[in-house]
Symmetry: C2
Subunit: 192 residues, 2 copies
């Protein structure tokens, strides 16, 4: 029976790096934007468009835009398709899924270890400025906007609230160290 | 320099048992109701009275009751005294402190590992019924009341909200296993 690790993370927390370390140590398949790509292919929409909308909840504008072409608004279709694919992956093989809503999508599944990675705002800002090498006029506002988008997206599509510790088996402040966090997740996976 | 582990926990999560395991493995002093006893001694009030009020926030009734005898209501005095003692312990020697507000009381201290232990409601109810062997007319209501009291107490005395993952370096669902949780905390402490 497959064992699944879902990892949700705050933007700039290094959660994706931790997930990659975990997948490498455990020799597990790692899914991240791949899920979105798969969803995109099934929907027949180009990947860039679908990535852009994947962290925005449906707006009335999007609804108007898409209502002539689709039964559901584009974002709702993306969420439905991503959920379908996540559930498919989770029944197929053990894997690490980096996705903000995977804990919710798989909440009725057995053998799922749900993880949330966060960090103090200052640490995340520093990582975005130094490591991600992304150029923004205002990195602070960019991180805050990302937080807001992820919160809105989760709260819109699930019946839970974003970033509630009760949703997760383990939450970790990545200031503890990326390797330390990865090792904890690896140990818990091995004991599942 | 002392290294401190603070452990807050949901009632019935087994958080206290985990804390005891951690203290034993690390050979650290363990503070729990001892803190309250120390506070009681300094205040000169009997221990039972002070334990009873320690998880209730100040009510207008308490305020009236105590206003003739003390400058601050009894609960406020207890909180202030507990905070003072927790800060004293944290500068004195490495230790494990099981206290719902210790993460807040020590938030400006270095070398503090903040932990929150929780579990699904059903698991906590089961533990209360089976292991704690406490007799209640209605265990379910008793656990819910405990949750409400701890939430109210924390939200009243701190500037934060109870049970927010951002307040903690690590939060753990004790269904992962009490020993597994204790081992994670021990490893993190050793790497501090």
């Amino acid at each position: 029976m497959p064992k699944i690790i879902t990892i949700a993370r705050e933007y700039g927390s290094g959660g994706r790096l931790i997930a990659q370390k975990v997948a490498e140590k455990l020799q597990l398949v790692y899914y991240d934007n791949e899920i979105i790509d798969l969803a995109a292919k099934e929907l027949g929409i180009d990947v860039d468009t679908i990535r852009r909308v994947s962290e925005e909840k449906t707006s009335s504008f999007m609804y108007t835009m898409s209502s002539s072409a689709f039964t559901l608004p584009l974002n709702d279709q993306v969420f439905a398709m991503q959920s379908k694919i996540i559930r498919h992956l989770a029944t197929y093989d053990s894997c690490v899924i980096v996705n903000g809503c995977a804990d919710y999508v798989l909440e009725d599944y057995d053998n799922v270890l749900t993880v949330f990675i966060h960090a103090p705002f200052e640490s995340r800002l520093k990582r975005v400025e130094e490591e991600y090498k992304e150029e923004h006029d205002n990195a602070k506002k960019f991180v805050m906007k990302k937080d807001k988008n992820r919160t809105n997206y989760y709260n819109y599509y699930t019946t839970k609230k974003w970033g509630q510790l009760k949703n997760f088996d383990v939450t970790l402040n990545s200031d503890l160290g990326l390797d330390e966090c990865a090792n904890i997740i690896v140990d818990l996976y091995n004991k599942m």
